[in-house]
Symmetry: C2
Subunit: 393 residues, 2 copies
């Protein structure tokens, strides 16, 4: 099994490499149609494939190939007093349906990870990416066929209206897990209609709390890059909370830095007072995933106030504290139960590769089954295999 | 936290011990009403508490107290090339709602496990157990109050009609996990209406396949006791599949043993021919959880036929093979993906205590989140805590 999945994935990687022209051609058609239809800039960025991003995709596949096969791994082994030998082993989940936005790279990543974990997958990407996805699925199907795997290991749903999607979500006899990955509306629709277990990959409304004891030079650098290095990703910082005792110094400093970096700051009254370059935030700027060069900023009275803000507005994705106070660091990571909490590091580290999973299919924001970065192991289940010599009870 | 939960659980155990009279009195009222209302015998057995079963409950609580605290346990720790230290830690799921049948022992077990894993729980047991559950919840609330925990750690829903239950299942902002545990109708209702993630504890339609190479004396003993030692439990065997090459000897032998033990056998045509004491099975006896001294029996042509039968009729709970052929044992445990597959051991070992979990809240028959026996760890999630020195990317 493992050897064959490796061969198929290697074939998928070389197929992508060989068909760069066809993939980029299809992607350009998708981009033209989407930009003509007025798709938002952040979404266009996610839709676009380039020669460089294809190279990244291929590298990602190579990393997946190199990962150990999760299926069959023994996670616990014990001989009980009764004499039975108990093993807990990783096993495929079965059929995984993933519903996501117009991001053709996800099509390749999701198939590679689901397949390596022994699952069949049904992929429904955003319709704006349909030409790109069709070419990528064709390459994947050829890789499957060349190594004797059934084509049903990957089913691409090219387009589906809401009624068809609703019907898909009732097929709990055939589908074991649904992974919706995208915005509020998609998640809500899937939650509303799914009779199949779901693990949600919801938006990342990531907060950074700059405590009064923070190293301010480092804090400026972390806050700035957490927004600018990849503003359209789910682990980008969307809101900065500044301790009032350092606000007088740090707010003007950070707003200045953001101005240099082309980031629009939407601040509360105190922020606007300290740094007139900031715009006034509206109520719906709190808890908002801008996915763009925009950041919200608020002055808080301390740790409790920061935690209260996070609890109210976060999407359980990623939250960071910048501090030199170990007690505050511990309190923050204990009381903020987001999928990843960081002390003195950028929110952008909440990523399967950065956390050592080797690959990821996304970041789950629901606590059941898998919370946070989902790698190969999170695409499996565990079951028991018991061997005895005729034991009864 | 750990010390306090231990104190509360110890107080719950001593409270149950001190109030045996009140609990048994309430339970007798429940039993009288339920038997007057014509509740089936298997369900009456699950409803009944005795002095001995209370002693078992108290022993169960003591075992839970002795288990290590799962919350805060570090399951992975790694320093990455970037210099960040990544820890994955166990964390409570949040609020767990459990909907189950009239089994007052489950009320105590479920609260103890949910609470020890740091969760609040909402318990809705079958209405036939409402007097028993009310007394047990009162004792639990006293234990919570005496040690300063909020009463909201346990909410008992004494009765709810289907409309109220349906409303409960939409409260996904407040409830993190729903565990329905019971029969087809309950599971179907919850699946139909829940917007909250669910882990199902469905019925156990457990099969034993007696291969041609099985030790027949041992096989007789395993098959007999897997039904008779606790016929109303979910891990009791419900269907015996016998290899045709040994059917001539083994079917009459096993049917004779079942007759001695008071077990009714419902066989296919071949079984009835070989052992006239067997009744003819009807189509709905396959895949049926009898929960009583009744067992289905079929002659199969071999391993493939047995596996095909299991795939069609099993509830993914527990399946066993009795064989001396290692290849067949491996094929069976690889191809049958039930939550527990056993080789040469009784299906009754699929139980949290027997498998080494220390305790269990039930046996999940769904693959997502937790599959099979659910102990303390399965009532938690895992999240990442990262510490750095100002790292960015």
């Amino acid at each position: 099994m493992s050897v064959r999945t490796m061969a198929q994935q290697a074939r998928l990687a070389s197929g992508i490499d060989a068909e760069r022209g066809a993939i980029l051609h299809a992607n350009r058609a998708d981009m033209t149609a989407a930009s003509g239809a007025g798709l938002a800039l952040a979404k266009l960025r996610r839709l676009e494939l380039t020669d460089a991003s294809l190279t990244q995709l291929i590298k990602g596949l190579e990393r997946v190939i190199a990962l150990p096969d999760p299926v069959g791994a023994v996670t616990r082994e014990q001989v009980m007093a009764s004499g039975i030998r108990v093993r807990r082993v990783r096993s495929p989940l079965g059929v995984i349906a993933m519903i996501y936005e117009a991001r053709p790279g996800v099509t390749v990543d999701a198939f590679a990870l689901c397949f390596k974990a022994g699952n069949a997958c049904i992929l429904k990407g955003g319709k704006e990416a349909s030409a790109s996805n069709r070419v990528l699925a064709r390459i994947a199907h050829r890789a499957l066929a060349e190594h004797g795997a059934p084509a049903s290991a990957l089913t691409l749903i090219e387009s589906a209206d809401r009624d068809e999607l609703r019907e898909l979500l009732t097929l709990d006899q055939f589908i074991d897990l649904v992974i919706p990955r995208g915005g509020k509306e998609l998640i809500r629709f899937v939650k509303e209609h799914s009779k199949i277990p779901t693990v949600q990959h919801f938006e990342g409304v990531c907060h950074i709390f700059v405590d009064e004891s923070a190293d301010l030079a480092s804090a400026e650098h972390v806050c700035a890059t957490a927004k600018t290095s990849a503003p359209a990703t789910c682990n980008a910082a969307e809101c900065i909370l500044v301790h009032e005792n350092i606000a007088g110094v740090f707010v003007p400093q950070l707003v200045g830095r953001y101005q240099c970096d082309g980031v629009e700051v939407r601040g509360d009254a105190r922020v606007c007072e300290l740094a007139p370059a900031a715009k006034g935030a509206s109520a719906d700027d709190w808890g908002r995933e801008f996915l763009d060069l925009i950041v919200a900023m608020r002055v808080v009275s301390g740790l409790d106030d920061a935690i209260e803000h996070v609890r109210r507005y976060s999407s359980n994705h990623t939250e960071a504290i910048l501090t030199r106070d170990e007690g505050n660091a511990e309190a923050f990571t204990a009381r903020v139960a987001s999928s990843c909490t960081l002390v003195n590091a950028s929110t952008r580290f909440n990523d399967g590769f950065q956390l050592g999973l080797g690959a990821e299919i996304g970041i789950s924001t629901s606590r059941v089954h898998a919370y946070g970065a989902m790698g190969l192991e999170e695409l499996t289940t565990q079951r028991y295999i018991v061997t005895g010599q005729g034991q009864t009870r």
